[in-house]
């Protein structure tokens, strides 16, 4: 019992993943800043911001539905932290692994977007409404390629469980090379999921202030921002375990360090991508995703299906 509470609250649960998330945000911001010729924040900036926001007054718009408005960030944070519990870190097993946990992780990672949508919608701000509608529109464009990219890797491994996928690719490391298209598709879809440039349309600062977050302040804003950080870490961890399952049989300390390095690699990839593009319009984003990214994901699916047929014989 105590062990389970420790796992959920401290490691690898809430506390660990929160601090890791804040550090990941720092690394993302630092890389972003260095690429832009800026100095960037000090290492404790994100933690200081979080603590500062916790201490600030929280305002709820008088027309907003206060309960839903306050509950949405907590719900979003909880679902993204829960998703982390299903991801194997230094070995093949995760804390709560079962036979179809890939689907559960993907589902849990969709929930924050929906929670933020509901919170933003009920804040009744016009900017938030436009932002939330945009984020839902965007959801349909990136979610399909992301699912197809990750599930095609699972298809080749012939299992729906993350530990199964990891085990399969550790046995046949060369098969990872077939998933490169899927990896690229997933990283691009991730930019949409995490609302980073060029897909930061739902929170486009110069158009709709902060999108769904416009009316949030204080504790709720702190938790929302933490949710985004945790989401970034969990998504990167998911991609790391599906597309780069190396070194899982190493001793736990080295394996764990390798796991962190893999996540940081994906985060730096995201930082690099968000440095070199301008923000697209929502119609251009949908076009891009359905015209190029979704067909590429389908191609990956096709490759893996054919490959699977060849391998069986």
């Amino acid at each position: 019992m105590i062990n389970a509470i420790f796992n959920i609250l401290i490691f690898p649960g809430f506390l660990f993943v929160s601090i890791f998330g804040l550090m990941a945000e720092f690394i993302d911001r630092k890389i972003y800043a260095r690429l832009q010729n800026r100095v960037g924040p000090p290492w404790f900036q994100t933690i200081a911001d979080f603590i500062k926001l916790l201490a600030k007054e929280e305002l709820v718009p008088c027309q907003a539905n206060a309960k839903i408005f306050r509950a949405a960030p907590v719900f979003a944070l909880a679902s993204s932290v829960t998703a982390f519990l299903y991801i194997p870190m230094w070995s093949f097993g995760s804390l709560c692994s079962f036979s179809a946990d890939t689907i559960v992780v993907l589902y849990l990672l969709t929930l924050p977007t929906l929670a933020i949508f509901i919170g933003g919608w009920y804040s009744t701000s016009l900017y938030a409404r436009i932002g939330t509608v945009r984020s839902l529109t965007q959801l349909f464009a990136y979610e399909v390629p992301l699912f197809m990219g990750i599930l095609s890797a699972a298809l080749l491994a012939d299992t729906w469980s993350l530990s199964g996928i990891a085990m399969f690719y550790s046995k046949h490391p060369l098969y990872c090379c077939f998933n490169i298209i899927g990896f690229c598709v997933s990283v691009i879809a991730l930019l949409g999921k995490l609302e980073k440039v060029p897909f930061d349309i739902p929170e486009a600062e110069t158009e709709i202030v902060a999108g769904a977050f416009t009316e949030y302040s204080g504790k709720s804003l702190a938790f929302l921002r933490l949710t985004l950080d945790v989401e970034m870490v969990v998504c990167s961890a998911l991609l790391a375990i599906v597309f780069m399952p190396f070194g899982l049989s190493l001793p736990s300390v080295i394996g764990f360090a390798l796991f962190i390095v893999k996540i940081l690699f994906i985060i730096s990839l995201i930082s690099l991508l968000r440095t070199i593009f301008a923000r697209l319009r929502i119609d251009q984003m949908i076009d891009f995703c359905w015209k190029y990214i979704a067909p590429l994901a389908l191609l990956q699916l096709l490759i893996n299906l054919i490959l699977k047929g060849i391998l069986k014989h």
Partner: protein, 403 residues
């Protein structure tokens, strides 16, 4: 809400996309813009009136503060008008120095604009890069004039600061660096997919519309209107340098970007010619304290477009009337046209593309009900009665208070 699927959102007076207070009320249907109402007048400072209450010498400094970016434009434009009334002949060297500062100002303004445009389309890297490079020209301006903005080089009848040979070398060095960087940005604008996607076809202003709406500066030139005061009505030393008037036929925000970037290259060319041919001589002629009665209109090609100043003197040391027509006032009318049938996402960049300077524009106030569009005015007495009744309804009686 007018009907179910159409609603109005305010962009401004406080909004992250706007660097100055300005009201845009946008009627939206989904993401599509159905109509825009523009409201000026949040930052009216009464500079024209203040000019009429101060001697000309102080006015030069005051008028320089009309705009933070094109401060030299306004002071030169004003000084030119006063010099015309007083019949002063500007020394050659002074006119060269004025032109030099004017072109350096254009360089810094266009680089600033490029960064702002990058920010408006969510390309913050471009903002950081251009503003870093802009520091080169800011440093040059600080070296030549002592200030990064509001240079204070103009006096009536000439300029205040000379330029030394070693400074000329420093400026030339800076121009080489900037030219290299600008070539890189031109290359970037020509090739970077997301920039082209966000800018081309956005904010279209056709050649005819640009003419009929009276657009000026890069906004007009990007619609193929070859209008440039520097060439059409040369002032200062512009008659003695050769340069091209850049025009473009894209008619959209992309065209405006290209025009500004190419104008930067022309500015470097002009600066090099000026520094090569700068003559020796006095810096200023003595101006009388009392300017003789008369009036003059002065035109000046500011970085944002044609700036017009009108000065009327009555023989005393203070002007009778000063009127400033900042370029943004001429361009802001076109914004409504540019936003027709566009998306909300294009709004910031379309507004930014005219390089608006709203504080400079706020000269005149029209009274209009923001929601109904009525032009009705309310007298002071009516307002007072309304106020008294408003408080009465809430249990406070002010009706015994004398006027």
């Amino acid at each position: 809400m007018e009907n179910k699927d159409k609603f109005r959102i305010p962009i401004g007076p406080q909004h992250p996309a706007l660097k100055e207070p300005e009201g845009f009320s946008v009627a939206l249907k989904g993401e599509k813009i159905m109509g825009v109402d523009i409201r000026l007048g949040y930052n009216h400072r009464g500079i024209e009136k203040a000019c009429e209450e101060r001697p000309y010498i102080q006015d030069v400094y005051l008028i320089e503060r009309v705009c933070g970016i094109c401060s030299h434009s306004h002071s030169t434009c004003f000084v030119q008008a006063v010099e015309e009334i007083a019949g002063l002949q500007l020394p050659k060297r002074a006119s060269y120095i004025r032109t030099l500062i004017a072109e350096l100002e254009r360089v810094h303004s266009h680089l600033l604009w490029l960064g702002v445009a990058g920010h408006e389309i969510g390309f913050d890297t471009l903002l950081m890069y251009t503003w870093r490079d802009r520091e080169i020209v800011m440093d040059i301006l600080a070296m030549l004039t002592g200030n990064r903005v509001n240079y204070g080089v103009n006096v009536i009848g000439g300029v205040k600061r000379d330029i030394t040979p070693s400074q000329i070398q420093d400026v030339l060095k800076g121009m080489d660096l900037l030219e290299e960087r600008t070539k890189y940005y031109i290359d970037l604008a020509m090739r970077e997919e997301t920039i082209i996607k966000r800018l081309s076809g956005v904010g279209v202003l056709s050649h005819e519309e640009a003419l009929s709406l009276g657009a000026v500066g890069p906004t007009a030139r990007a619609s193929g209107v070859a209008r440039d005061t520097r060439r059409d009505d040369p002032y200062a030393a512009y008659a003695e340098v050769s340069f091209n008037v850049i025009t473009d036929n894209h008619n959209d925000v992309y065209g405006r970007t290209v025009v500004r970037l190419k104008e930067l290259m022309e500015s470097y060319k002009i600066i090099r010619q000026l520094l090569k041919n700068i003559p020796d001589g006095p810096l200023s002629v003595k101006a009388p304290r009392n300017i003789p009665a008369g009036e003059a209109i002065s035109r000046y090609e500011a970085p944002r477009g044609e700036d017009v100043h009108y000065v009327k003197s009555n023989g005393t040391e203070m002007p009778e009337r000063v009127k400033v027509r900042a370029p943004t006032l001429a361009n802001v009318q076109a914004v409504k046209q540019m936003l027709k049938d566009r998306y909300l996402a294009d709004m910031p960049i379309v507004i930014a593309a005219i390089d608006p300077c709203f504080s400079c524009t706020d000269r005149m106030v029209t009274v209009q009900n923001f929601d109904t569009g009525n032009h009705e005015t309310i007298s002071w007495d009516t307002l007072r009665v309304y106020g008294i009744n408003w408080h009465k309804d809430r249990g406070v009686d002010f009706s015994n208070v004398t006027k």
